[in-house]
């Protein structure tokens, strides 16, 4: 097994792509408005704090991981050229994304606690802090649970990207285009129908609502939600996606281009 070499190779290549993604985003969000304000003579209305308040910096990382994870075919091409098996590729890729999630999540939380909160005086900087922070009375436990909760979300996004990317990589470019157009439309319509059906009065007080409330961690106390059901759900979903990704990786092959 050449997992160590492949992990090193993937880490080096993908950390560069991740860095490029951050660079483009920061230039677009911070530098471009500044330059436009400078050119149009409205520099007085430019506020760095306002941009900071309104831009989901920690959310970017999840999006980047999703995109990065979806692009697996290029690496497969290089690795199969160099006699690397699909299993080794899978194991190395999971290791690299695991490291990225740990680093990215730590940086996100550090940024939020050390910069965002003091600057904006807002505590609801992510999903956990918005919905679940009152469940714990101890500050240290809250930070720890926030870390685990956020890591699980990032892992979900990453595995979702891997699942979609690996699935698409099994098809020809034409079929990929068809799927990329058709799936969002069909998915969107289905989602609208499901949401409409669930919000319909007829479905209220049924098992679906109760189940949803259970997953989201509703408690008898107003404003206090239990994060554990949703964390366990995310963990199970991640495990299922991991299993699917492993299967899809084993089916990867060079396409006739």
């Amino acid at each position: 097994m050449k997992t160590k070499q492949v992990t090193k190779y993937l880490f080096r290549r993908q950390i560069i792509i991740l860095g490029e993604m951050y660079l483009v985003t920061f230039v677009t969000i911070y530098l471009l408005p500044f330059l436009l304000s400078l050119i149009t003579g409205t520099l007085g209305s430019y506020s760095f704090t306002n941009i900071l308040k309104n831009s989901p910096i920690s959310g970017f990382f999840g999006f980047f991981m999703f995109v990065l994870a979806a692009l697996s075919y290029e690496n497969f091409k290089f690795l199969i050229q160099n006699g690397i098996s699909r299993t080794t590729f899978f194991e190395a890729q999971i290791s690299v994304y695991g490291i990225f999630v740990l680093i990215g999540n730590s940086v996100n939380l550090l940024y939020n606690y050390a910069i965002y909160v003091p600057m904006t005086h807002r505590m609801s900087f992510n999903l956990f802090m918005s919905g679940y922070r009152y469940f714990f009375s101890n500050g240290g436990v809250t930070v720890l649970m926030n870390f685990i909760f956020s890591a699980l979300i990032l892992a979900m996004f990453t595995l979702m990207g891997m699942t979609i990317g690996s699935f698409l990589s099994l098809f020809s470019k034409t079929m990929q285009r068809v799927l990329l157009v058709a799936v969002p439309i069909v998915g969107g319509v289905t989602l609208m129908y499901v949401v409409g059906a669930i919000s319909n009065a007829a479905f209220r007080y049924t098992w679906i609502e109760n189940f949803t409330k259970f997953i989201l961690g509703y408690t008898s106390q107003s404003g206090v939600y239990n994060p554990f059901p949703v964390m366990v759900t995310m963990f199970i979903l991640s495990a299922v996606m991991l299993f699917i990704v492993k299967y899809l990786f084993s089916k990867k092959q060079l396409k006739r281009e």
């Binding site: 050449k2 090193k8 091409k77 290089f78 050229q81 160099n82 006699g83 690397i84 084993s250 060079l254």
Partner: protein, 292 residues
């Protein structure tokens, strides 16, 4: 001595059967010529042998161990093909460093010498290479990686005559210094005829011929003379093709000649691999009566 075995491999794309029950064995320390017309299944076979694609049935083994999803065995092979599997944005130096990381070592000295000889700038990005230099770079990689089986699919694609000569000469040098197995799939039969030790002819997904070149050529006979005498002499033999020049006829026979008497008006000689290939893979009268 390592052995690469392809056993009962079949593959189809849609309704087209590209490979049908292919069984071949490649021994270490030989240069094989894998010949076949366009669409005969050569590239598909090489892709299956290196686990780039999957066979519908059958298996590929190295030293009796299946190569499927097997790093140790896959790392013993390197397939150079016209398909570009390297990132266009990477420099040639970077690709070499990454390749070395995957294979564990790399002959930098040879790579440097070949790059100088072919005037290839290793700081160039892979995507900026012309078709010819793209092939040259991949050939350099193929000659410098520490593998037992080097598979070359149309290796001289886009190379001019000078570069082709240089490559063949380097290939022989490399083989002499470090004997290993080369499997060369090509259309340019004349160019590799003096290079290969064994020939494999693939036609419509089936192995038509798999023998040492020397044995194959010993079975080729061109029978030249007046048409009536030539036809009479070759009656009952495996005539795979013929040429007519006025009253003179050449019948091409593949196989052993029996002890029949040769008429004074008829002359016998051998013919080359390219001619044999053309006759075997054409739908000539008698072309299917080949020997395996």
């Amino acid at each position: 001595m390592s052995m690469l075995e392809v056993s009962h491999v079949s593959k189809s794309f849609g309704s087209k059967n590209v490979l049908q029950d292919v069984t071949i064995t490649f021994d270490e320390g030989k240069i094989y010529g894998l010949l076949g017309r366009n669409g005969a299944g050569k590239s598909t076979l090489l892709n299956i042998m290196t686990n780039r694609t999957f066979a519908d049935s059958g298996e590929v083994k190295i030293d009796s161990e299946n190569i499927n999803d097997n790093d140790a065995k896959l790392g013993l092979m390197f397939l150079m093909s016209e398909v570009n599997l390297y990132s266009n944005g990477s420099t040639l130096d970077q690709i070499i460093a990454d390749t070395e990381m995957m294979y564990g070592s790399f002959d930098h000295q040879l790579a440097k010498r070949l790059a100088t000889k072919f005037e290839l700038d290793m700081a160039t990005k892979f995507g900026k290479l012309s078709t010819g230099y793209n092939s040259i770079f991949k050939l350099i990689l193929a000659l410098c990686v520490p593998v037992k089986f080097v598979l070359l699919d149309e290796p001289v694609l886009g190379l001019d005559a000078n570069h082709r000569e240089m490559f063949y000469s380097e290939l022989i040098d490399s083989f002499t210094n470090n004997p290993r197995t080369f499997i060369i799939s090509t259309h340019l039969i004349e160019e590799v005829a003096n290079l290969i030790s064994d020939v494999i002819v693939l036609d419509e997904g089936r192995i038509m011929l798999d023998q040492p070149v020397e044995e194959v050529l010993a079975k080729t006979h061109s029978v030249v003379g007046p048409q009536r005498d030539v036809d009479a002499y070759t009656k009952g033999l495996n005539v795979i093709g013929h040429d007519d020049m006025g009253n003179i006829r050449v019948n091409y026979v593949y196989g052993e000649l029996d002890d029949r008497r040769l008429p004074d008006t008829v002359q016998l000689s051998n013919f080359d691999l390219q001619k044999l290939f053309i006759f075997l893979t054409n739908q000539f009268e008698g072309s299917r009566h080949y020997e395996n």
